[in-house]
């Protein structure tokens, strides 16, 4: 039995190790300073980098955070504060459904409502799509984290003459902040690698752009374009970009872990 379980564990971890191994083997050789600081070169030439996509991913994900985190965290606080209200029940249900919605559906939605109505692709449409993926995740984790705060702490604040909202923000949310940060980081990590919603929205671009109203490059889009392209140099860049992308996700996940650990050592 133990052997079976051990096998299951190995099989579960194996894909991650294989992915990482392949990416490092095929992509690490292309990772150099130019990769991070140079723009792409015309097809067929060697060298060049993906600065435009790094900047684009930062812009798109950053804007998605600005939209998604306040809404998600706010929704989570509301659900935790009014657990029995109809709106909370509805929010929970909608969040769970949205959490299970394929990201390409969200992309098509953003295309329909923003790209089609504005008649041009834009990075902002991509940010909106990513934010829509973040909100349900952040809402649910925020609520769960707040629910972990003991009721006695809330009562202590109320007994001091704190108003309900002051209790919630100054005591309950403050106490659970590391947990909320963790949830937010995991949500960011999750959407940073999303490709499908960006295909119809941010579209991708060969140029360095900081205009959210225009098409913009992003790391996942670079992987998609270069990996399916005909040139060997492109394939090399795609491997390297994929490696960077997975490293970003890994770093965010580890940061989330560390934030949680700090919380527990504080309480213990």
């Amino acid at each position: 039995m133990v052997a079976l379980m051990g096998l299951a564990v190995v099989l579960a971890v194996l894909p991650l190790l294989l992915i990482l191994g392949t990416l490092i083997a095929k992509g690490a050789s292309s990772l150099n300073l130019a990769f991070f600081t140079k723009m792409p070169v015309p097809a067929g030439e060697t060298g060049g980098g993906v600065l435009h996509a790094i900047a684009g991913t930062l812009m798109i994900v950053g804007a998605a955070c600005l939209i998604g985190l306040p809404l998600g965290i706010g929704g989570g606080i509301y659900c935790a504060e009014y657990p029995g209200s109809k709106l909370s029940t509805l929010t929970r249900f909608v969040s769970d459904v949205l959490n299970g919605t394929p990201s390409i559906v969200v992309g098509v939605f953003a295309w329909t409502w923003i790209v089609a109505s504005q008649k041009h692709f834009s990075a902002l449409a991509g940010s909106v799509a990513l934010a829509m993926l973040m909100i349900p995740m952040v809402t649910r984790t925020t609520e769960e984290m707040i629910k972990l705060v003991p009721h006695s702490l809330r009562e202590a604040a109320l007994a001091l003459g704190y108003s309900r909202w002051r209790t919630s923000l100054a005591v309950v949310v403050r106490t659970t902040l590391p947990g909320i940060v963790t949830g937010s980081l995991l949500a960011v990590a999750r959407v940073a690698g999303e490709t499908a919603p960006l295909l119809f929205t941010a579209l991708g671009s060969q140029y360095l752009s900081f205009n959210l109203d225009q098409p913009m490059a992003a790391l996942p889009l670079v992987v998609f374009t270069y990996a399916t392209g005909p040139y060997e140099e492109w394939h090399q860049l795609a491997w390297a970009t994929a490696l960077v992308l997975i490293l970003v996700v890994l770093v965010l996940s580890i940061a989330a872990r560390l934030a949680t650990r700090r919380k527990f050592s504080q309480n213990g």
């Binding site: 006695s152 604040a157 109320l158 007994a159 001091l160 003459g161 108003s163 309480n267």
Partner: protein, 248 residues
């Protein structure tokens, strides 16, 4: 502080029935009785914490300085600054320093100058017999204190805004004998400045610390009187049965 025909309900079930009691200033009043007898609910009705529980509501009146605290023009948040409360488990705010914990109740209401704030915090910590132990680490986390120290910190936090009444809901239930003793000693000095009402399931504690004792049973008040008298010659049979340990 006094109650007139106070009943407290959770939805349709009644937890406290028709209790009329008055509490003299500068005395320690103990509320005793078996678990579920309504003594905690009664206590929580006095500072309007009961109404925050799901389905919590009351009938009757609770008077503070002759004025009904359930009157329409009374702000419950302001009331709770005048009627402080210490809970069963120590509840320091985990993200705040020792200083900020004590100052927490002072930061609601009108703003105070920094120097006054520091002075009030020191006085509160001295009042809670904790100053000497923490004066060199006021900015460190309150979570590093022992359970007994945390509970005294909560006492300091409660007395800092200078309430008139202090309610204590089994304040020593989670403490070791030494921590319990410190809290009990504290009550003697605190009653010089405050009206103190303490719920306890520990009859020896009630006998040690209180001036008057009220016995609750099945949601009703059975008997109230001077502590010594109630413990030596109770007027009611249920009281005698309870204090001699025949039930509860």
């Amino acid at each position: 502080m006094a109650t007139e025909r106070l009943s407290a309900m959770y939805g349709k079930s009644t937890a406290v029935k028709d209790v009329t009691l008055s509490f003299t200033a500068n005395r320690v009043h103990a509320l005793i009785g078996p678990s579920g007898c309504g003594k905690s609910t009664f206590l929580r009705s006095l500072n309007r914490m009961h109404e925050l529980s799901p389905g919590g509501w009351i009938t009757g009146r609770v008077l503070l300085d002759g004025k009904d605290v359930y009157a329409g023009d009374v702000n419950p948040m302001q009331l709770r600054r005048r009627v402080g409360m210490v809970f069963q488990k120590p509840t320091p705010f985990p993200t705040m320093s020792i200083f900020d914990n004590v100052a927490a109740g002072l930061r609601v209401g009108q703003r105070r100058p920094k120097a006054e704030l520091a002075e009030t915090v020191e006085r509160a910590l001295q009042g809670a017999a904790l100053w000497e132990e923490v004066k060199d680490r006021l900015t460190t986390s309150a979570m590093a204190l022992s359970g007994g120290q945390q509970q005294r910190l909560c006492v300091a936090r409660t007395i800092a805004p200078q309430p008139e009444v202090i309610l204590l809901d089994e304040p020593t239930a989670s403490l070791d004998p030494q921590g319990t003793q410190r809290i009990e000693e504290l009550l003697f000095s605190l009653k010089k400045a405050f009206t103190i009402i303490i719920v306890t399931h520990n009859m020896q504690q009630a006998a040690r610390v209180s001036d008057t004792t009220t016995f609750f049973y099945l949601g009703g008040m059975v008997e109230t009187g001077v502590t010594k008298q109630l413990f030596t010659s109770p007027a009611r049979e249920e009281t005698e049965a309870y204090i001699t340990g025949r039930f509860g």
